[in-house]
């Protein structure tokens, strides 16, 4: 198992390098140049501008520039944010926990809804419950997160006045009140993200479960006289989860996309809203770094999925 995890780790490195290469090429191909202002500034003589360009290596061949950028990123030198007046890595580390908290709770909610509903629907295919669950799931993943977010605000904040619609990091309360406020303000963003995820996950769970439930070993388990719950939970579910894990990992990029939108709607100070605000204020080092962090998170979650995969199906880790 540990050898399998190590092998997966080694496979993740080329994909990280590939992603960083894609990002760097995008940046290099983009029009515009950090020194374009110098070229048009009459107070800077052309030879000074040329010397500066040479000093920062802007005229070097592209592979040299890529290697230098990669080395700097690997050493934690992520640049300086001109708008926030602080180092980019510090800025991102400040914002990252909030994003992970919201995404993590949303995923948890999605799993808590999708697994029971999907399994229950699969044990009674084409029943009324199955049809209702299917239709709701269809509607759920056709509703874009930005619209559900606005609907939630309209219903729960404006009409009913139950929940706050702006997320604050400095709640003016202590003790148990602080915890309650913290949970209250996270309810809507987590619901929006979690329900969207739950919709597509329910479909995955249902179809994976339907495939497994027809197999002979499940019939054998029933024939041995085991109860329905035990057959489903102990025998069928573990195997049904294998394709689900893959599909959930493939969904990760979409989850981060949804997180950007929800952070923007509810003004959550995470890295998603940081990305939007730095795009609007032309803060290139932050934009690049946040995009790269998102890419790293996707690779990380793929890695976790691979490890889970090995645990669910021991045959895979032996290969």
């Amino acid at each position: 198992m540990s050898q399998y995890v190590l092998r997966r780790l080694l496979i993740a490195i080329p994909s990280l390098l590939g992603i960083s290469l894609v990002l760097f090429i995008v940046l290099a191909l983009a029009p515009g140049d950090p020194f374009s202002e110098l070229a048009t500034n009459p107070n800077v003589p052309p030879e000074v501008a040329a010397a500066l360009r040479a000093k920062f290596g802007l005229d070097d061949p592209i592979y040299l520039r890529y290697l230098r950028w990669l080395a700097a990123m690997a050493q934690g030198d992520w640049g300086f944010s001109f708008v926030s007046r602080m180092n980019v890595d510090k800025l991102i580390l400040q914002r990252l926990p909030t994003t992970l908290y919201v995404i993590g709770s949303a995923q948890l909610l999605a799993l808590l809804i999708a697994i029971p509903v999907g399994v229950f629907a699969a044990t009674r295919p084409y029943s009324i419950f199955d049809q209702i669950a299917n239709t709701l799931a269809f509607i759920g993943f056709s509703l874009p997160t930005f619209f559900t977010g606005l609907l939630f605000i309209l219903v729960f904040s404006i009409t009913l006045d139950w929940l706050p619609f702006v997320y604050t990091t400095d709640i003016k309360a202590t003790g148990i009140r602080w915890v309650i406020e913290q949970v209250r303000q996270a309810i809507m963003p987590v619901m929006v993200l979690g329900l969207f995820q739950a919709a597509s996950m329910t479909r995955f769970v249902r179809s994976a479960m339907l495939d497994v439930i027809r197999l002979d070993y499940v019939t054998t388990a029933r024939a041995k006289g085991l109860g329905q719950t035990r057959v489903i939970v102990k025998h069928a579910m573990r195997n049904a989860m294998i394709p689900v894990v893959t599909l959930v990992a493939l969904q990760m990029p979409a989850i981060f996309g949804g997180a950007i939108v929800t952070e923007q709607i509810f003004r959550i100070p995470g890295i998603g809203s940081l990305l939007i605000s730095s795009i609007l204020s032309n803060d290139t080092p932050v934009v690049m770094a946040v995009t790269f962090v998102f890419a790293c998170l996707v690779v990380l979650f793929n890695l976790i999925a691979d490890v889970l995969y090995g645990w669910l199906d021991p045959r895979i880790s032996l290969r």
């Binding site: 994909s15 029009p31 509703l143 996309g257 795009i279």
Partner: protein, 306 residues
Amino acid sequence: MAGLTLASPSAERRPAWSPWRETWRRYRRHKLAVVSAFLLLALIAAVVFGPFVWRVSINDIDFSARLEGPSLAHPFGTDDLGQDILARMIYGGRISLAVGLAAMAVAVIVGTLIGALAGMSRGALGHALMWLTDLFLSLPQLPLLLLLIYLFRDGLKAVFGPEGGIFILIVLVIGGLRWMPVARLVRAQFLSLREKDFVEAARALGASPLRQVVRHILPNAVGPVIIAGTIDVAAAIIAESTLSFLGLGFPPDTPTWGRLLFDAKDYLDIAAHWALFPGGAIFIAVVAINFIGDGMRDALDARRVI
């Protein structure tokens, strides 16, 4: 009829229907898909012919009718400048639907090309292309979409004008980040089809690889591509609306559905209709297209018995 013995087995056979008629017969079974097809057609007709019927300009500012709810003069109400929301939604719907279709076309063309190349090559090229596909699948799409638009929008704006430049950019970027599922489907189909006897026969008759692909393999691989393409239209509409909703899509004076929501979100408490109508339009378009895709799956997957 039950219990009757038929004179000959051939009498039981259905009359030979053309494949398209058979497809339609299977599609019709999915009631929601049929309803969705009509809904989508109605929506397309509304945005295409709407301006000829509803002749209110999208830029008529009328401060005496600010943030009004639905009325006879303004069926969908007005925004903070007193502009007619119905007229703006008709205009924006054209863009949203056009972006969806064009981005789907880009995704399907790129995906089919890469999938076909990977499916036909027996060497390193196939592996390299699949590695590229997997790499693209693990890219965080929305951040990358935002990054690309941030970096390239000024350049394209200068060449093609503000609206045309952004349209080309958004279509290329959304399509360019959504071709991977199509490529995988096409490759999987090609890997099994290229070993089939009828392709072998064509090869034995001296058909060039290009002819084998275009005449024999591709027509048989088209079903899953149509299904994936349908779903892609919905995904592209959501992607475009998301960009506009974040304020990074089309220029502010172009009222796409996402942009209307972006403008409306600060007035939710006093003018909820402003957000509900465009949001509802996005939802109806997306849910209808998804149901059509579901119906297509029933209709085109020959192995599925319905």
